[in-house]
Symmetry: C2
Subunit: 206 residues, 2 copies
């Protein structure tokens, strides 16, 4: 007999409600940051009562932590798959595309991350100094090699990474500003074309 629990030990209703909560929490936290977000608001938006929220999660902080840690895997992955064996420009451009895709499909997650960084990364500082730094150190070496071998134009590899982060995330994080200026256009469509051009001119040997 399976009982009413699912494989991971959660009932159907538990999974559904936890999902509601996480979705509402993402909405709120990504806008107002941790301290600016109120449990009442998250409760209301998720359609549950506040004590009911706290039946599923032990605290406000726990919800926030779970959101952030769920994010981090998604966030590091696109860089991980930059492959030293592939075509240099295509590898970098692939990273750009994956990153832009994330900003397009998960803009709230991007803003949640931005909020965390703006506050000085109190929760994920370890990951930044550890996993992220390690990953960036590794991948910049590859880029440096490509650059040295003339497979791409000479470039500061760390700042290349930063510019990829900045250019892609900007479309999610500053969405409000972009839409205030661009009233007709679809930002992400043209961003895709624009970034293709930008990185092509920046990296492709002529």
């Amino acid at each position: 007999m399976k009982g009413y629990k699912m494989g991971n030990g959660q009932s159907r209703i538990q999974k559904k409600n936890k999902d509601f909560i996480m979705k509402a929490a993402l909405d709120i936290f990504s806008k107002y940051g941790f301290r600016g977000s109120k449990l009442d608001q998250i409760a209301k938006q998720s359609g549950l009562s506040k004590p009911n929220l706290l039946y599923y999660f032990p605290s406000k902080e726990a919800i926030h932590r779970e959101l952030l840690s769920g994010l981090l895997e998604n966030w590091l992955d696109p860089l991980r798959s930059l492959n030293s064996e592939g075509d240099p420009f295509e590898e970098v451009m692939g990273y750009v595309r994956r990153k832009l895709y994330l900003s397009k499909t998960l803009p709230k997650e991007s803003r949640l991350f931005a909020n965390e960084i703006l506050q000085g990364a109190p929760i994920i500082k370890d990951v930044l100094k550890g996993e992220l730094k390690y990953l960036v150190d590794e991948k910049t070496k590859i880029i440096q090699k490509w650059s040295d071998e003339g497979l791409i134009l000479p470039i500061h590899p760390y700042h290349l990474i930063f510019s990829i982060w900045s250019l892609t995330q900007h479309y999610a994080d500053f969405d409000t500003q972009i839409r205030a200026v661009l009233t007709n256009e679809k930002p992400f469509e043209n961003a895709s074309v624009y970034l293709e051009t930008l990185f092509s001119r920046l990296l492709k040997p002529s």
Copy 2:
């Protein structure tokens, strides 16, 4: 007799304390956003008592508003001085330099702005859709003309502006992340060189 009032109708002590408050408020608001910032915290950091704060400003919101409106002039100015009569590349690059200089010298202001945008720009949305949009519309026309005439490489002028915003502000807004990765380097020094290269390759006809 001058009396103890200064030219602008504020006493010396009033000016000094308002300055303390604004400085402390900038510290706090730029980190935690409006809702995440507490008056007690601002009071403590400025060395005044909370009721004393509210003697100088009518409310928390008033402090925040004054900070933001003080910012906006600074923020729009660098784009204003992009001159259609000058050398195209140098004009754009001048804008990049001024913007990067702002991020370097006023990183907290940059983060305050970022926080406001992340929250959907509740306070400055009008300015974004009005003054900013007007200014961008105007300047992109100039860039488009340069592009059409072959004075710079063909480019999407709006996204060029966005990329300038994103690349320069990133060094202020994501400072924490950058310093977690770059432990030895001075980010802004190299950013300056890097952006020179980037925009040179992006815009200069070969």
